[in-house]
């Protein structure tokens, strides 16, 4: 009897100890301790009773006391559980509210069972039915086909490697609209490091994506406008304005010839024609004078400039177009060059021109030979900006004409870009030179003198 009681006491203490270790709570100790204490008291009272010291064993009273104590402890527990479930509910509601307010959807992928739980918002966003079971394959179906491969890669990478997921993709919502979404998540692993769960949130980023696209487009347009407005429009209006008086002169001259062939020429008419020819010649001359004054560089605004920063800006400007045309565009690294003095807008125009020319030069090159690189470096007392391409270079028979007006190798070129660029650089006290690269393609290099210090040399 005593032995079995002892065993029960030891068992109760061990159980309480184990339970406490597992949950870190006070309760197992209280319950286990009380049980152990109760049995000890029973054991002691029996012993005392057996030896005739106590009139009875008090065992029933002791057990009653014990049960009362245990009941109190357990009722505390029930109360606490109620509080906990209320807290949990509230925190869930708060979370849902916050998620909705932030336009977030929460999700969790049970990798072992291949089952995805996602909030209603996420189901709505991906066009998946409210009660439909979602596994990874079903999730992939909801993704825009063009983004599927890259999303799978991101998930694979997070599971095998980083443990962190970040992926942007398009989904088609229930109402048929395509939305951009970014998903961020974290992998949970078991004791062996095997991924068991991927948990995270998704946010609608359509607005941001749209803004990005608009920005890229406006950059493209800017680059396009910069060129077309200065070159194409000019050329077309020049042609129109000059052809009008030149056409009149030609027709008048032809008419005069015909009049003079007559047996008795009407000299009065011929005289009138000659007067008109003079007037039209003056008109054509005025057009040319106006164009010349338009092309004449306005007063250069001299400000100290970092040519490398400037080149970086222009590179960024044309990058979207380069990417769209699958051209690799690089600004060579290196230490910042000394400042030059010049007109920011004009030098930008020169760099833009050289870059666009280089990009046109590689337009018909195979994909692995579509590279344009910009290098800004110091060369003695000069700073040079070199733009190299991997195109076909300048053919030998064209070498002499590169800087001539209206010389072009492009089907739709006007042959004015390099002329204007050279004028700008010349006006800055610099020069433009070029060479065909030994490995193919050409390099155009604009060189400008280093700015003198404000307080003299």
């Amino acid at each position: 009897m005593q032995a079995s009681f002892l065993l029960i006491i030891i068992f109760a203490i061990d159980a309480a100890h184990t339970a406490a270790k597992r949950s870190g709570l006070r309760r197992p100790w209280v319950l286990g301790g009380l049980t152990a204490m109760g049995f000890s008291l029973v054991l002691v009272s029996y012993e005392l009773y057996a030896r005739g010291i106590l009139p009875s064993t008090f065992s029933s009273q002791l057990f009653l006391l014990l049960i009362l104590l245990m009941g109190y402890e357990l009722s505390l527990d029930v109360l606490r559980a109620g509080q906990l479930s209320r807290d949990l509910l509230e925190s869930q509601q708060r979370m849902r509210l916050a998620a909705n307010a932030a336009d977030l959807s929460l999700w969790e992928w049970d990798i072992v069972r291949d089952e995805i739980w996602v909030t209603e918002k996420g189901r709505e966003r991906t066009g998946i039915g409210a009660s439909e079971r979602i596994d990874f394959a079903r999730f992939l179906q909801a993704i825009h086909p063009d983004d599927s491969e890259q999303t799978q890669q991101a998930v694979r990478h997070s599971l095998e490697d980083s443990g962190e997921l970040e992926s942007e993709y398009r989904v088609v919502a229930r109402n048929g609209a395509t939305r951009w979404v970014v998903a961020r998540g974290q992998v949970e692993r078991d004791a062996d490091g095997k991924p068991v769960r991927l948990r995270g949130v998704s946010v609608d980023i359509t607005q941001r994506k749209r803004a990005e696209q608009e920005l890229a487009q406006s950059r493209n347009e800017l680059a396009h406008i910069a060129r077309v407005s200065t070159m194409g429009e000019l050329a077309a209006s020049v042609a129109h304005e000059l052809n009008q008086p030149l056409g009149a002169i030609l027709r008048n001259a032809e008419a005069a010839e015909l009049f003079l062939q007559a047996p008795s020429p009407d000299l009065e008419e011929v005289r009138a024609i000659l007067t008109d020819i003079r007037a039209d010649e003056a008109r054509a001359g005025a057009v040319i004078d106006r164009i010349r004054s338009m092309l004449k560089l306005r007063e250069i605004e001299h400000t100290p400039l970092d040519l490398k920063l400037l080149a970086g800006e222009v590179v960024n400007l044309v990058r979207p177009e380069a990417e769209a045309r699958k051209i690799q565009l690089a600004l060579e690294p290196g230490s910042p060059p000394p400042l030059v003095r010049g007109d920011r807008a004009q030098l930008q125009q020169v760099l833009l021109n050289l870059l666009l020319n280089a990009m046109d030069a590689v337009n018909y090159s195979p994909n692995d030979r579509r590279r344009v690189s910009v290098c800004v470096r110091t060369a003695g007392s000069q700073v040079e900006a070199a733009v190299s391409d991997t195109g076909d270079g300048i053919p030998a028979d064209k070498v002499a004409h590169v800087f001539e007006s209206f010389f072009t190798t492009k089907p739709n070129g006007l042959g004015m870009g390099l002329v204007i660029s050279r004028n700008i650089i010349k006006a800055h006290g610099g020069s433009i030179h070029w060479q065909n690269n030994p490995a193919g393609g050409a390099t155009f290099c604009a060189t400008l003198p280093v700015a003198e210090k404000e307080n003299g040399p």
Binding site: A239, P245, G247, A248, E254, A255, I273
Partner: protein, 206 residues
């Protein structure tokens, strides 16, 4: 009634080019009329005269293309030759695929311009003659009575007298009489000839 004169109508908003090209064409033997705008040209009381239009493509308000469209809308099929001061001819030509008779730059050689004008005038004369011929053929059909025209439609469909009689609810002999009247009035001797005449007159309905 004498043949109406063939006129080259020149439309250009540039007065000095207008005068110059008119001089040259006049010296080359053409009868010309000049207009400073498309509106001025369209405001003429009589537009259906033999000739052609030589117009600037780019004009303020009403362009050469607008002018061509206005003429087509009003049912005037006078040939239109365009002149342009711009250099971007390929683009303009493309834009004008829908029926420009010719297209030249303002500085085209005299020979080219004269050829274009002559081509337009020849085309106009040919088309006028063709229209007049069709008109005459149509007039021949006009002498037929209502009933004869009805019978004619059936004959053209290749129906036999018996069928025609049944269709129209008349006697077969009456049909024969109508047929004789038709061939006599139209001065044809066979159904084949009748069909040919009908088609040449551009006929499709009764």
């Amino acid at each position: 009634m004498s043949e109406p004169t063939t006129i080259v109508h020149i439309v250009d908003d540039d007065p000095s080019f207008l005068v110059a090209v008119a001089r040259m064409l006049r010296a080359s033997g053409f009868v010309v009329k000049t207009f400073a705008s498309a509106a001025e040209f369209l405001a003429q009381p009589e537009l259906d005269v033999p000739g052609c239009v030589l117009t600037d493509l780019q004009m303020p308000r009403v362009s050469g293309l607008d002018l061509q469209e206005a003429l087509a809308k009003a049912g005037h099929r006078i040939p239109v030759v365009f002149l342009t001061g711009r250099g971007d001819i390929p683009a303009s030509v493309h834009a004008m695929r829908h029926g420009a008779d010719d297209f030249l730059t303002k500085r085209a050689p005299k020979q080219k311009l004269l050829e274009a004008v002559n081509r337009a005038l020849v085309r106009d004369a040919r088309e006028r003659a063709e229209r007049a011929r069709v008109q005459r053929l149509r007039a021949r059909f006009e002498v037929l009575t209502e009933r004869e025209r009805e019978v004619l439609q059936h004959v053209l469909r290749g129906q036999l007298n018996k069928q025609i009689a049944a269709d129209l609810g008349i006697h077969e002999r009456t049909v024969k009489l109508h047929r004789t009247a038709i061939t006599t009035k139209l001065r044809v001797s066979s159904v084949a000839e009748l069909t040919k005449l009908w088609l040449e007159s551009g006929g499709s309905d009764g």
